[in-house]
Symmetry: C2
Amino acid sequence: MRPQIVLFGDSITQQSFRSGGWGAALADTYSRKADIINRGYGGYNTRWALFLLHHLFPLVSTKPPVAATVFFGANDAALLGRSSERQRVPIEEYKENLRKIVRHLKECSPTVLIVLITPPPVDEAGRKEYAQSVYGEKADELPERTNEVTRLYAEQCIELAKEMGLCSVDLWSKMQEIEGWQKKFLSDGLHLTPEGNAVVHQEVVRVFNEAWLSAAEMPYDFPHHSEIDGKNPEKAFQQQCL
Amino acid sequence: MRPQIVLFGDSITQQSFRSGGWGAALADTYSRKADIINRGYGGYNTRWALFLLHHLFPLVSTKPPVAATVFFGANDAALLGRSSERQRVPIEEYKENLRKIVRHLKECSPTVLIVLITPPPVDEAGRKEYAQSVYGEKADELPERTNEVTRLYAEQCIELAKEMGLCSVDLWSKMQEIEGWQKKFLSDGLHLTPEGNAVVHQEVVRVFNEAWLSAAEMPYDFPHHSEIDGKNPEKAFQQQCL
């Protein structure tokens, strides 16, 4: 009965139900109003995401999601010739893949509210520290992602949202407005701290509110307990349940 | 495609996706393996929960949950003649209502794994402090719930689990094993702190593992990114997606 909001993305979506995570916070914001469904796939880029589309969002579904966040790019923006090259997707293809994802979601439901989210900024020093903590001396000297290259991907994401008339969150820019974003928002130069998760939560809620999906304006899925008469509970449930 | 695990209960379930919440933690434990669906209804007792049964768990569902936690009693155990009397359900009826919930879930799916969870203990001093912080001098002098009465409800819950051969979590007893449980696990004498949420998460995961629903033994819903060949991604998706 409750509408579904699907979070489609990479590890930053997959991990969003960890303590302080933006997915869990969204589930709490929409408590008793919508179900938040996590479809985050760690390590995935937009090219690999396309394989999942028809399975996650079947065209024949009787109950397509009312909204979806599409949050890729952190892996697509990996650099050629570096340790994460396998995940890299050229920038033009990244944009086209996002377009295919959006078109598919709209084919499932013409009214679906789609929010494109850019990858977060990359803190190259943080990535290096992280690599050294894991691989020690074997860690690569050269970064596998840079903030400048990720910027280009973020720009394409925002440009596509404009072209297609979609809502978007420019996370790459938003986070860098705050001094010390590198450690404040990123735990390993790429993934999010609880504060970084809070930025995503706040921005997604803002965009949902500005569109037509404000939790405050949505009904509870059954009577609030204060509306139930202890001596005559049937009355409160009459309309929906009897 | 992913199996569903439904959390059915009162406010302690409804709030379980707040920061540090047990529902969110469970969603993270079963990340990419099962969807955790929150069906918590703040203030509800088992009598009111019965009105929702056929709506939340339709008998004709093609995809009933593989598991469900049933976590009521904190409101049923409210005292007669006190401020929360409206929510009270007599103890015999509480047990019968739980039995009806279990029977309905089994009618939806004979194989569903049901975990009954007792209400947590009540810290009467904590409840009083909370009431005073909200209502000031107008706060009732007498408690609306006591730990001793809640114990009786917890016992009925455990007894029913034994009678019906179900898994259970005796949260009432478990929490009181730790010195200082009153403030450590309860935020207002009744609802859970992050530490209290961690106890529920740990106990539910333990019971699921002891049954047949261990996350470690469940497959990811699509290839792990490390199994995807960057030059030939089709191969990894062939079995499931092409």
